[in-house]
Amino acid sequence: MSKARICALSLAALLLAAIPARAEIVAVASFSILADLTRVVGGEAVRVEVLVGPETDAHGFQPGPAEARKLAQARVVIVNGLGFDPWVERLVKASGAKPRVIVASAGIAPRQGGHHGADPHAWQDPALAARYVATIAEGLAALDPAGAAGHRARAEDYAKRLESLAAEYRAAIAAIPSERRRIVTSHDAFGYLGQAFGLRVLALKGLSSESEPSAQAMARLIRAVRAEGVRVVLVESPAETRLAERLARETGARLGPRLYADTLSRPDGPAPDFLAMLRHNLSVMVAAMNAVD
């Protein structure tokens, strides 16, 4: 075999090996909810990796070399923005790769959470989640013009499912007397949801699950729970429950099943994907609002 033939053959082999790798886009999402949305929009052509996996709190997450390695392979990185995952962009810079960065909350006017600044939890409102999905679809389309139509079609299809879930929320909440339309949660993650459906949200901690509460916040909440006759206090997974337990003890309320705010559950849990999460939260909230003893 001549040298030229060997060269040609190995070149061909290299090319063949390279083709499937080019067809697949590696996308890295900052946390489990964004990963699920990206998987839905991207379809077969996109392989999605996640930095902060299920049942893990993204507030104050400490990235390590494993996360940097994932980012180094990424062609596109999806972050929430609004101050929720600022460490991802630092990590992208540090990894040396130059992926496209999609900020899923782009164009959404943030809710202001008291003196805590912008509220990052926009995905809790299904209408805003639909805009996340559209933003992700446009980002993927720019990267993969051949698959653009598919990305947009899947995003529109998903938006319809979100719209019907929003209708479920509206119907379920309309059935509850207006003075009972309130929930007590551990950190303030349901502001957008409350705004969208006319729910009053009373939270023990601020916008970050990491903030330490004051005695005043605790006292205010205890008074509110007593005055409103709230019977069930809801805690997000995976938050610690000691403060909420104290609150429940002091007011005679009880702890309800876990809500999912900033993370999905594991596949065998009650919120393995985003739509299941919204449905699970709705049923937990409705039961809590209706509880009389």
Binding site: E55, P213, S214, A215, A219, P238, A239, E240, R246, R249
Partner: protein, 292 residues
Amino acid sequence: MISPYDLLIAPFAEFVFMRRALVGGLALALGAAPLGVFLVLRRMSLVGDALSHAILPGAALGFLLAGLSIWWMSLGGLVAGLLVAGLSGLMARTTTLKEDASFAGFYVLALALGVMLVSRAGTPIDLIRALFGSALAVDDAALWLMAAVASLTLLGLAALYRALVVECLDPGFLKTHGGGLGTLAHLGFLGLLVLNLVAAFHALGTLMAIGLLVLPATAARFWAETVWTQMLVAAAIALTATVVGLLLSFHLDLPSGPAIVLSAGALYLLSVAVGARDSLYRRHVQSPHLRA
């Protein structure tokens, strides 16, 4: 105009969690503050801080084994703290290394090990935050633990008092005349220190735990002369700081742990400025002849 009752009493009268925080603070004030006096006298204030970090990996291990159980986390912290204290003490006595240096070495080692354990296990809840207790979430188990530690500390201090005082004043004396008493007192003291740190991190968190040990004790030196009166003053200052901190947290919407430690810090600065003994006021304003 807010009445004194509303300002000082009502928060505790209306809310159980405030009374629990107060009782927890009382327990810490009775145990940790007097112990802190010896910590300061023995020039080990920073060793206490190092030790509070050394407890972390043990608590992490307890958490990984048994979940968010106050007893397992405390036990793990206790074992880790005693191990670091014991090894450092041993190193200081058997090599030329000074105790502070060997403490620094072992605590950094323990801390790194703790961070490693937590990250490798991929814990479902942010462990460091779980370890940070809050004065507002003191449950029955934490109250029992703090009360038991305070009782044990007072008994232990009563038993070791003479040996500890002698060792502070003349470390050589017990080495030559005391048999193993000096070593025994030292180890007993380190044991009590670890116990108090474990108790304090349930109420104040690991970063703040050292606050009520060191600040009231240093402040007390500006008011009292003998060791036992300093202990009384330190306990009173710690209790005052707890009450003031809780009230600030209640009225001004501040996080409780830092509010308590900052109150203790304010009392310390006040003592440095105008305390009855050796304060800036006494030395430079009231007795100007000392300048000459």
